[in-house]
Amino acid sequence: MEEQVSQINQGDTAWIIVATALVGMMTIPALALFYGGLTRTKSILNTIMMNISAYFLVSVAWVMYGYTLSFNESFGGIIGIPSKLLMNTVDVKAVSGSIPEFTFSTFQLTFAAITVALISGAVVERMKFSAWVIFSILWLTFVYCPVAHWVWGGGFLMKMGALDFAGGTVVHINAGISAVVLSLFLGKRKEGGVLPSNIPLVVIGAGLLLIGWFGFNGGSALSSGGLAASAVLVTNTAASFAAITWMFIEKIHRGKPTTIGAASGLVAGLVGITPASGFVDVIGALFIGALSSAFSYIFVVVIKSKLPWDDALDVFGIHGVSGIVGSILTGVFANPSINEAGTGLLYGNPNQLWIQIISSLIVIAYSFVVTAIIALIIKATVGLRTEEESEIMGLNESEHGEKAFN
């Protein structure tokens, strides 16, 4: 985001401030409730605490150094230079596009926060809270900031022409892969599966995620107008069709459509459309919604139980899988009449598909390796996992000394 001699537009600013609030709401309370409701009662508070602490930690680290590493002038396409530490030199009149730079940086902060929080879904019901706190900070610094810089901050993937409107690679693939790695290092829970303590809580979370995602994808236009409008519509379309798809497959495959299934499909569709949301039309959205949901269903219901890791709440199955599906299909369905910045295979540009695949692979590889190193270091020092007794009695008590309900 090079400084431009440009002016603040109040309408654009209004939309992006609100979008920031909407994306903030996605972590706290939405994701905290979504994950919390899916957790066993005895560990629900720990799940909630992992989410909200990620938000708090990222918020502080972001203004200290995260923003400048991600979105400042590039050091060789790899990382932002640290000249804006503690928002140094950014002031009330600094402009980014047509909005205040403060708004741009706060909007981006909420993306960083939810990406870290997403990973927690894989490790619930057994991870030490202190280890999680350390992980959050290290992962933000060494995984999120570089990847955000590469794709959005002027780094090499941006220059290569990778299309990621709102975070297919930066947010979802990144979180999904790291979730796998961290659960491999942690090991499986004593009691597996998803045994949701409170499905209405899951629904509150999922509902607020959907609404918040209007800000996530629509706000990524960084202005208020036709492109934001289109992003919101295709987001809603893909998500709704994905929810219907999951319910439909469940009905055929298992006999009954479930509430957890509807919520899972909804989120899969939201993830899938994320990279594509500023590039595709409603027809593309219907395809992306259906395919994201179907692939995530197959992974979560059929493949997952055969795998050697325990990704408790399916961070990879939902965010990783649908993130990959969405990133690749962006290279297929990107319609230049929606956004001239993106032309996909169907509109005569097979090369875009190729770029999408390459950029996804690069993020997968980087995220895998660096997360593994972080996990290894924490395991070797403070340790990753709670005592067996704590796990059986629940992490509410062992990590926080509280009961969720009295």
Binding site: G192, G193, I260
Partner: protein, 112 residues
């Protein structure tokens, strides 16, 4: 005196209560319990993972009565709790030695 303890299906509670009142019972205590028996549990699916639920929700009705009311009470329970399907539940009879009403200190038959 005897303690009569019946494990019944939850949705039958209202009928059993009414039948007991009709039989002359003036007090009873009910507890939510979970039962395992011939009536098999069921499986639930969450994100494709199956959870076998072995224990089914049941209601335990406890009523302490003088010996001469025992048969009548048993009959009322059977008549009101029966659906004829597996899982209707059971009635257990135990000896009770004393009853005391806390408020008045009355004992035994007077206290029931």
């Amino acid at each position: 005196m005897k303690k009569i303890e019946a494990i019944i299906k939850p949705f039958k509670l209202d009928e059993v209560k009414d039948a007991l009142i009709a039989a002359g019972v003036t007090g009873m205590t009910v507890t939510e319990v979970r039962g395992f028996g011939r009536q098999r549990g069921h499986t639930e699916l969450y994100r494709g993972a199956e959870y076998v639920v072995d224990f089914l929700p049941k209601i335990k009705v406890e009523v302490v009565v003088p010996d001469n009311m025992v048969e009548k009470v048993i009959k009322s329970i059977i008549d009101s709790a029966k659906t004829g399907k597996v899982g209707d539940g059971k009635i257990f009879i135990y000896p009770a030695e004393r009853v005391i009403r806390i408020r008045t200190g009355e004992v035994d038959e007077d206290a029931i």
